[in-house]
Amino acid sequence: MAIVQTQELRKEFGHNTAVDGINLKTEEGEYLVLLGPSGCGKTTLLRLLAGLEQPTGGDVLIGGEVVTRLPPRARKIAMVFQSYALYPHKTVRKNITFPLAAAGVPKDEWHSKVDWASDVLGIGRLLDRKPRQLSGGERQRVALARALVREPQVFLFDEPLSNLDAKLRTTARDELKEFQKRMGVTTVYVTHDQVEAMGLGDRVAVLNNGQIQQLGTPEDVYVDPANTFVATFVGAPPMNLLHVRDEVIGFRPENLLPLETVGEREGQMVCEFEITRVENLGSDRYVYGSIPKLDPEARVIAKLPSTLDVPVSPGARERYAVDGSKLRWFHRDTGQRVEPPPSGLPQGADR
C-alpha cells in the first residue's frame, strides 16, 4: 500500500479548467472519498491519478515516486469503473487472469492467485460464466477480484455503485467497506452521493469547480463545513442558510427543534417558525417553512425524529430553537466559514 499525492495538479480542456491546482495527500491504507456534483472535477482527478489523462501542470506521486509521465500500466494501480468494464468476450476466470497475463506472471501461478482472489470475494462458483450472465452485485465482485489479483498499491473507484439499484447499493457499500478494511489498500473513491461518501470514507474531499473545498473526516465535513457549498452539498436535507443582517447563519435541520421539546437554555437562538408543509417519511418528519423575522426568503427545514411526538401542522407558527453550539457563520460574499460576530446571536427573532 502506498500514499497517493498530488502537487499543484492542473488539467485544462481547452478553455475549461477541470482540475485547478489540487494538492492532496492520502494516509497509508486510508479510504479517501472524492465527493462533489457532476462537473466538479472529481472524475478527472481520478483519471489523472490513474494515468488515463495527462495533466496540464503539476505532478502525481504514488508511493513516493513521481508517476506523472507514466502510463497506467506502470503505476501499479487497480481501477474499477462505474460500469465495471468486464471484458464481455471473456469468462470470469479469464477476466481475472487478464492482468496477470499483462504483467507476465508465469502461468502456473495463475491458478493459486485466482483461487485466492475468488475466495476473498466469494465468487468461486462464477468462474466459468460470462459477464452477461451475472447480476449487478456479482459483477462488482468480479471487478474487485480482478483489481485485487495484481496486488496493487492503490485502488481507484469511479462511482462503482451508481449503476446498482437502491436496495442493492446498501449491501454493496457494506461489502466494499469490509473488503477495503480487510485488504488495507489505500483507496481513492469518487462519488456524487454524499450518503455514500459519509458511509465509506475515512476522509472526504469535497470538490467543486476543480478545487478541494474541504478535506476532513465525514464528521468534520458535516459538523464543521468550511464554506456554504460544503454546508449545502453534504447532508440531506441541506443545512439551512439564512441571510441575517450582514452575515449568513447556518444550522442543520435536525438541530432546529420545538422550544417546548428542548427547553429554554443559555446561548440558544429562539425563533418563530412559520410552517408551510410537513412530509412524513416514516423515520423522520420534514417540516418546511420559513423564519420571517430573520430571513423571510429563506426556505427552512426542520427534521424531527418520529420518536418526537409533537403536533405540527401547516399554517401554524411555533417557537423553535437552535442550540448555540450548533450555529455556524459564513461570510456573506465568499461563503467561507467565519467566527461568530461579536454582536452575538440575533435576538428578537421570536417576537
Partner: protein, 283 residues
C-alpha cells in the same frame, strides 16, 4: 432499425403497392436478364411471338459456354485475387488510422476525417490519366498489380469511415480497464477492442471486396490482355465481339456476379448502416 407498424388498411395497401412498384423498378432488368439466360438462340432471336414466353425449352448451353469458351472464369479469378489482396492492404492501413481518428485525435480529428472522406469523392475518371502514365513508369501496365496498387485509394477512405463508426461503438472504459490492468494502448486495442468489432470488420471486408469489383475505368485504362482482366472490364470487351453479342452468355455473366453479392450485402446491411451512422456522428 425499428420496424414501424402501419396499421390502417389503406396504409397497408399503399405500402404493398409502393413496395411492389419499387420491386419492379429495381428488379425488372434482372428478371429480364435471368429470363434471357436460358433461352435458345432461335427462341431468343425471333420477334414472332410474345417475348415473355419460352417457345422452345430452356437450355444451359449459353451459361456453360460462358465458362468453356470464354475467359470468364479467368476474369472471376482475377477479380477475386485483386479483391482479397486489396482487402488485406486496406485493413492493414485503415484499422490503425480509424482507431487513431476514433480515440486519439484532438482538434485536428474532425478536419482530418473530413479530408479522408473527401478523398473518396475524387473521381477515378479524373485520376486515371496521370495514373495510367505512372502505371507504365512502374512497369505495371497490363497487370492486375496495377489495380491492386490503385484500388486502396478509394477503399481506404470508405473503410476508415466505417471502422471509425465501429470503434466508437465500443465503450471506452473496457479499453481503459485493459490499460490499467497492464497493457499498453496498442495492447489494449488488440486484446479488447478488436475482438469486439469482428462483425464490423467482416462488414468492411465485404464492402471493400465488392467495391473493387465495381471499378471499370481503371481496369479499362490499364489492362489490355484478357488474361489480366477483371470481370467488370473483361465481359464488355471480350464478350462483345464486333457486332455479334452473345446475349444469353452476357446476361449470365452479369447475373452470376450480381445475385450472390446482393445476397451477401443483404445479410450485412444492418451492420453497414450501424457503422455508417456512427461514423457520421461528430464527423
Amino acid at each position: 432499425m425499428a420496424g414501424r407498424d402501419v396499421k390502417t388498411v389503406r396504409g397497408r395497401v399503399g405500402l404493398y403497392v409502393t413496395a411492389f412498384g419499387f420491386a419492379v423498378f429495381c428488379g425488372f432488368p434482372f428478371l429480364w436478364a435471368g429470363f434471357t439466360m436460358f433461352r435458345q438462340d432461335s427462341d431468343l432471336y425471333s420477334t414472332q411471338h410474345n417475348p415473355f414466353e419460352y417457345s422452345k425449352p430452356a437450355t444451359l448451353e449459353h451459361v456453360t459456354s460462358l465458362f468453356t469458351d470464354t475467359p470468364y472464369l479467368r476474369f472471376i479469378l482475377n477479380s477475386v485475387v485483386i479483391g482479397l489482396v486489396v482487402v488485406a492492404i486496406t485493413l492493414v492501413l485503415a484499422l490503425p488510422a480509424a482507431y487513431a481518428l476514433a480515440r486519439l485525435s484532438g482538434r485536428w480529428g474532425v478536419p482530418l476525417a473530413i479530408g479522408i472522406f473527401a478523398v473518396y469523392l475524387v473521381p477515378p475518371t479524373l485520376l486515371f490519366l496521370p495514373l495510367s502514365r505512372i502505371v507504365v513508369l512502374l512497369g505495371l501496365q497490363d497487370s492486375i498489380w496495377s489495380l491492386i496498387l490503385v484500388y486502396p485509394g478509394f477503399t481506404i477512405p470508405l473503410s476508415v469511415w466505417l471502422l471509425v463508426g465501429f470503434f466508437r461503438s465500443v465503450p471506452r472504459d473496457v479499453e481503459e480497464q485493459a490499460q490499467v490492468d497492464g497493457y499498453s494502448k496498442v495492447g489494449a486495442l488488440v486484446r479488447t477492442v478488436l475482438p469486439l468489432i469482428v462483425p464490423g470488420i467482416f462488414t468492411v471486408v465485404v464492402f471493400t471486396f465488392t467495391l473493387t469489383m465495381q471499378d471499370f475505368i481503371y481496369a479499362l485504362a490499364f489492362i489490355s490482355s484478357s488474361s489480366q482482366m477483371t470481370v467488370s472490364v473483361g465481359v464488355p470487351t471480350n464478350l462483345i465481339r464486333g457486332d455479334v453479342l452473345y446475349w444469353q452468355s452476357l446476361m449470365a455473366s452479369a447475373m452470376i456476379v450480381a445475385i450472390p453479392v446482393a445476397l451477401i450485402y443483404n445479410l450485412f446491411l444492418n451492420r453497414f448502416i450501424q457503422g455508417f451512422t456512427l461514423g457520421a456522428v461528430k464527423g
